[in-house]
């Protein structure tokens, strides 16, 4: 039986090590004295080893002890008479397993990145963002309070967007990074709204009480509220995991360095939404409508992604859509209540897809060409009636026209509204003489 004190120390090591790594890399950079490459590499490897050891030891100890899930609190960010913002962590087999898996995969990617980005001008920046990511994923995995979950969730989103725009001297990565971040923000709004609504309804910030697998411990919410919260969570998960209708950002995210694409869109970040949905299973179970929607979204995403994966012309996009296919299936499994299968699916798929992503550059290098030399060759032509074949092919090739649909029905009206409001404001200040137009979203040539 492991002592409570040692448990606390292990959890503290899991979450504080990435934070310390972030400071260790970030502060010298802020002081214009960035650390040298070899030192950065050693620090990152050391940190990843500590995080993995702490997580895996805690996991083994928890399984051996057979104790139920518990909250470990590290005091509060602030305590007020009306309540507190807590640094609480939920310790159960699922959170510790996901934490250990994340640490392991991050360690592999860190070692890979150390060589992959050797002498890259953004070497230091990459590892600062990588440390932010590790911190985010560990917080999401071990979160025991909504504040911790939101913090982890936002760290993931920001580091993801900044890594998509890692090669920021080119325009395309930057534009795509902003697009990715915009979708993440939609998910963040849904996530935060769900959290606030959940707590105003249940009156608790503890994820142990809200997301407990035990029906006796879970909080039964009023039916309408439960449905609303579950729907908001599905939107949040859809944004983070690129489910329909937010899948359009996934190929854009491939602009980042391959190691970051591997860990984000092959292994961990894309599964973070699934993990959250898995944890929120008890809330999801209280709403049939939400479960049906989750199943529908998961199935539709899997179908869409598998078709799109078969017509991609570059290996990273093919792999990303392949990953999305499985993410859709995992969401479907969660909606059907197959939680153990879904968790095993997450673990297996994350490992497998990470390996595929990391080996892809070598394979490409060895073949001196794109791996998929005949895009569309794998498109399932035999099963589709001929008159639909070309339309379906076009649909897959255009990635479901998602980007153009969002441009037309979301971005366009938004720009029009903002333009009108801005013109009104300018007119108010110029007495109506000047009605200068604003070219919102217009882009000048660099």
């Amino acid at each position: 039986m492991i002592g409570d004190g040692l448990f606390r120390a292990l959890i503290l090591a899991s979450v504080s090590t990435p934070l310390l790594l972030l400071f260790a890399l970030g502060i010298p950079s802020l002081a214009s004295r960035p650390l040298r490459e070899p030192l950065v590499g050693r620090l990152v490897r050391l940190a990843m080893a500590i995080v993995f050891l702490a997580n895996s030891t805690a996991f083994v100890a928890h399984v051996v002890s057979g104790s139920p899930g518990q909250l470990i609190s590290f005091g509060v960010g602030f305590a007020l008479p009306m309540g507190a913002l807590g640094f609480d962590f939920l310790v159960d087999s699922m959170s510790l397993a996901f934490g250990a898996l994340s640490a392991l995969l991050c360690g592999i990617v860190a070692a890979f990145s150390d060589r992959y980005l050797h002498r890259d001008p953004g070497f230091n920046r990459y590892f600062i963002l990588f440390a932010t990511f590790v911190l985010g994923i560990e917080l999401v995995a071990l979160a025991g309070s909504v504040e911790v979950l939101i913090a982890g969730w936002e760290f993931l989103g920001l580091s993801s967007a900044l890594l998509v725009g890692f090669f920021h001297d080119r325009r395309a990565p930057v534009v795509n990074a902003l697009r990715v971040f915009a979708v993440y923000r939609v998910g963040d709004v849904a996530m935060l709204s769900a959290a606030v609504l959940l707590h105003h309804t249940a009156g608790s910030g503890s994820l142990l009480m809200l997301f407990s697998a035990s029906a006796s411990e879970s909080t039964v919410l009023p039916a309408g509220r439960a449905t609303l919260i579950a729907l908001l969570l599905i939107v949040a998960v859809a944004g983070k995991s690129a489910l329909l209708p937010f899948s359009g950002w996934l190929p854009r995210a491939m602009e980042g360095p391959t190691p970051s694409s591997a860990v984000y869109y092959g292994a961990l970040s894309i599964h973070a939404g699934c993990f959250l949905l898995l944890r929120a299973g008890p809330v999801l179970e209280q709403s049939t409508l939400a479960r049906a929607l989750a199943a529908l979204v998961g199935f539709a995403t899997a179908l869409y992604a598998t078709m799109s994966a078969r017509v991609q012309s570059d290996v990273k996009s093919t792999l990303a859509y392949g990953a999305l296919t499985h993410v859709g299936l995992i969401v479907l499994e969660i909606a059907l209540g197959l939680y153990t299968l879904a968790f095993l699916h997450i673990v297996g798929h994350a490992c497998f897809r990470l390996m595929q992503f990391l080996t892809a550059p070598n394979v490409m290098h060895d073949l001196h060409e794109l791996v998929e030399s005949r895009p569309g060759a794998a498109f399932p032509g035999r099963w589709i009636p001929p008159r639909f074949h070309s339309r379906l092919y076009l649909f897959a090739l255009e990635r479901g026209f998602l980007d153009s649909l969002i441009d037309r029905f979301v971005v366009g009206p938004f720009q029009a509204l903002a333009g009108v409001l801005d013109r009104v404001d300018r007119a108010l200040c110029s007495g109506g003489r000047e009605v200068a137009g604003v070219a919102i979203g217009e882009s000048r040539d660099d």
Partner: protein
């Protein structure tokens, strides 16, 4: 008492020293160094409030033989002002440390000192006549900084809006202090006038149009120093919240919530960095006002925290923009300007300050917004989510600006590197925002105490004390604006204290001592 007087004398002497030095034939860089030293010293002096208990609760009154003005409380240091004073000093230090040489002159440095002196005086007083004078004085200093024919239009717009707000404030104060007649009607009319004055000054919809115009076509530096301390919030807290009806405060909160989303939306859509900063201010400033509702201690605490965090973060963001502008000219957000490699510190500071504005975890803004969201949703179950939306839109707008200003094709000119004094200042600012975000307890506790004092001041028995304190003073001893209370004591019952509603941090069935 001697210690108190020395402390006050230092507060006045440090800016005054710069003002006097500006008349000497000093080189402008030397004068800047003196100003920076004075500002840093002022940060230290104002921070003494935290470590020297005698300074808190200090009050000064006019002599009782001054006739109508006799025995009038004109200066006090309370929980609210304890954090606002270092805040004003920090803004001054930030301003003078990173002002580009091209925009530096002796008169400008003197104006920053006068503006800081007025801001400090404002945060030190609860007297409505003094507040009116300080308000008008700060407007005057600001307008005086907007010289030159190219700024004529912005000056005209600002004069119109701020002139009206000053007139409304003076009128409101006069009406509420009117000794005769139907006092309820006059007081209500006067309070409404003060509300409108505060809304105009803070750029809350529908009185916001002057803010982006002044940021765009006026001078950005003075505009930041004028806006960031948010004297409008102080006036609202001191003169409006204690006496306003619930309906009045709810109107303010609704307008503020709408404005926060509106400002963030338009900031995201701008093609010019200055104008985007203007709309960001509109949004941030409104978020602070959104916490001034009648029934939520949590929201009020959040608003008071946001006041500090958004003020510092927003000032830092605008200063980064100014530093960039000094090297590149006007910044068009439709282009990607590049240059990250040459100024990573500036880029990092821009991102950190911007994210603090959007309430990103790990910064002080996160703490303020977390509290504000809970309180706002508690007050307005649907409209309260505007805080969430505003935060998301602000974050997106910040990242858009970051990508535009620092990413893109590499700039090769070595001249765009930033100077050591700028690097140190920006690093220190980023550190302040992050450290207070990671260890927020002392600041939040202080703001919560201040928030409670404000809410207690809304109780009917204390409302009479709030305008002209001197009339209520029973004897020559020191008297607090609000009934004395201790954090360890149970809450004072009264209609001004919000009922315990189950919220995120306030689960039902768990009695938390107030």
């Amino acid at each position: 008492m001697t210690e108190v007087r020395v402390w006050l004398a230092l507060l006045a002497a440090l800016p005054a020293c710069v003002i006097l030095a500006s008349y000497l034939p000093l080189h402008v860089e030397k004068l800047r160094r003196l100003t920076v030293a004075s500002a840093v010293a002022m940060v230290a002096v104002t921070s003494l409030v935290f470590v020297r208990p005698p300074l808190q609760g200090m009050e000064l009154r006019t002599p009782s033989d001054w006739g109508l003005l006799g025995d009038h409380l004109y200066l006090r240091v309370d929980e609210l002002s304890s954090a606002l004073l270092p805040f004003a000093a920090l803004l001054w230090a930030l301003t003078v440390s990173v002002t580009p040489r091209s925009a530096l002159d002796r008169a400008g440095l003197a104006r920053t000192s006068v503006a800081t002196l007025l801001t400090t005086a404002c945060f030190l007083t609860v007297s409505s006549p003094v507040l009116v004078l300080v308000w008008i004085g700060s407007v005057g200093v600001f307008l005086r900084g907007m010289y030159g024919p190219e700024r004529r239009h912005a000056r005209r717009v600002a004069s119109a809006y701020l002139g009206v707000s000053s007139a409304f404030l003076a009128g409101g104060v006069a009406l509420t202090a009117w000794p005769n007649g139907d006092s309820a009607v006059l007081e209500s009319a006067g309070t409404w006038l003060i509300v409108v004055a505060a809304l105009i000054r803070k750029g809350v919809f529908p009185f916001h149009a002057w803010v982006p115009e002044v940021f765009d076509r006026g001078r950005l530096g003075p505009a930041v120093l004028f806006s960031a301390p948010q004297l409008g919030t102080y006036v609202a807290v001191i003169l409006v919240v204690p006496r306003a009806s619930d309906r009045m405060l709810e109107t303010i909160v609704v307008l503020a919530l709408l404005t926060s989303v509106y400002g963030a939306l338009l900031a995201l859509a701008q093609s010019d960095a200055r104008r985007a900063c203007g709309y960001l201010f509109v949004s941030q400033s409104a978020l602070v006002m959104a916490g001034l509702g009648p029934a939520s201690e949590e929201a009020l605490t959040g608003a008071l925290v946001l006041w500090l965090s958004s003020g510092l973060a927003f000032a830092g963001l605008c200063r980064c923009t100014l530093v960039l502008e000094a090297r590149r000219g006007r910044l068009d957000l439709r282009r990607h300007h590049g240059g990250y490699e040459h100024m990573p510190i500036l880029a990092a500071t821009f991102l950190i300050t911007g994210l603090a504005c959007s309430g990103f975890p790990g910064t002080l803004g996160f703490i303020g917004e977390e509290l504000l969201i809970d309180g706002a949703v508690e007050m307005f179950p649907i409209l309260g989510y505007g805080v969430v939306l505003a935060g998301a839109l602000t974050g997106l707008g910040i990242l858009r600006m970051y990508f535009s200003l620092f990413c893109g094709r590499r700039a090769r000119s070595p001249r765009i590197r930033i100077l050591p004094r700028e690097a140190w200042t920006f690093s220190a600012l980023a550190a302040v925002l992050v450290v207070t975000g990671l260890v927020p307890q002392p600041l939040v506790t202080s703001r919560q105490k201040a928030g409670r004092e404000i809410l207690i001041a809304r109780t009917p028995q204390s409302r009479g004390d709030l305008f002209f304190y001197s009339t209520e003073r029973p004897d020559g001893g020191l008297q607090s604006r609000v009934p004395t209370f201790s954090m360890n004591e149970p809450a004072m019952p009264g209609p001004g204290i919000p009922p315990r509603i189950p919220t995120r941090r306030n689960p039902p069935g768990v009695e938390i001592p107030r």
